[in-house]
Symmetry: C2
DNA sequence: CCAAGAAATGAATGGTGATTCAATTCTTGG
DNA sequence: CCAAGAATTGAATCACCATTCATTTCTTGG
């Protein structure tokens, strides 16, 4: 019984995530999510006090997945430079594989309450990068700089490069190589 | 009479721009715009078929003003490096002076129809920068690179650095200096 | 097998804000 | 000065969805 409860809550979150990844936030009416989850509209409200809470959780879940992937990839590397490269490759690779989801997570207009989660998402990436950059600076691998600022700028560059062209319909693997060069230069990685 | 027509249309656009700059898109109900413009709600529809059309024009106007300022600043410089610096200084300086407007133009959730204008705005900045970067590459001032990609990334970095911290409430003039360093390095300006 | 309570249902409600339009007020050519 | 037509008004309408809740359907301890 308790299990059934948990399961249906999960199905709702999954359904929302699925619609988000296929049709974006615009397609995510409560009715649509409920239908896809195989529950009644009203049942969504047994699990979440409001739509915004559901989507805050959806965004949190999806974001965490991204952050985890990126963190794992970076952890496998040894130097600050390599870690930053791993972050770029992973972030961009995943975005290219799920462009609709990337768009939704990064820029699609959403409820202000959900927008807050987006900020968390972006800042989490930035914080991760800031740590690596600070390490690089401390170890003499990178020139002195404000890791907060540069990591923020890097996240912005990554996001724009991924979703800006999305509208124009172009962003291939060659984009990733270009971004790595751009960002390594920006951080002052010796060539 | 014709003049009165034009004048009231302009007052409506100005009113919308004013509210946008003070309270963001969220504060821009048609009723609020009409009141500020000193006309009846319904009169807005004599000039624009729909709210989205009004705001497409508002965004176009505001964007053009930004682009013009940036273009003018860049034109006063002689080298690609100096032009890029002028773009950053102007873009960031204006954003810091009108943070609410910058937020609205760059990232605040809006109608999808208006979102399209935002894309135009970002791409216009990118196109401008791409031209300078291409010149710099052609003249040997900058190393080889894809100007489309690097200009897009620069616009993303600028936007994120301006409005990301906006939520956190911090972004001062020192941010601009940091961004110039970051972007010059990213483009491969020799130090 | 049987209540008693929990969970699920989905049609009805409610709030928001864009859009419409019948009534009214201006313009202007004669 | 006077219609005829254009412009303006703003209250009423409409559409869209999130949210609610009376009703129905399960679950389970006895």
């Amino acid at each position: 019984m308790r299990a059934r409860l948990t399961a249906s809550r999960e199905r709702i979150v999954d359904a929302a995530l699925g619609i988000l990844a296929e049709h974006g936030y615009a397609g995510c009416s409560v009715a649509a999510v409920a239908e896809r989850a195989g529950v009644a509209t009203g049942s969504v409200y047994r699990h979440f006090p409001a739509k915004a809470d559901l989507f805050a959780e959806v965004f949190r879940t999806a974001s965490q997945r991204e952050i985890d992937a990126v963190t794992r990839a970076a952890a496998a590397e040894g130097t600050a430079t390599a870690r930053v490269r791993a972050v770029i490759e992973t972030f961009a690779g995943r975005a290219l594989r799920s462009p609709r989801l990337a768009y939704a997570l990064l820029v699609e207009p959403v409820d202000p309450a959900v927008e807050a989660q987006r900020l968390v998402f972006r800042r989490a990436h930035a914080a991760l990068l800031a740590g690596y950059i600070a390490d690089g600076v401390a170890g003499g691998e990178l020139p002195p700089q404000d890791p907060e600022l540069t990591s923020t700028a890097v996240v912005g560059a990554l996001a724009e490069a991924m979703v800006g062209p999305l509208a124009a319909g172009v962003a291939g693997p060659e984009t990733i190589a270009g971004l790595i060069t751009f960002i390594h230069r920006a951080l002052g990685v010796p060539s």
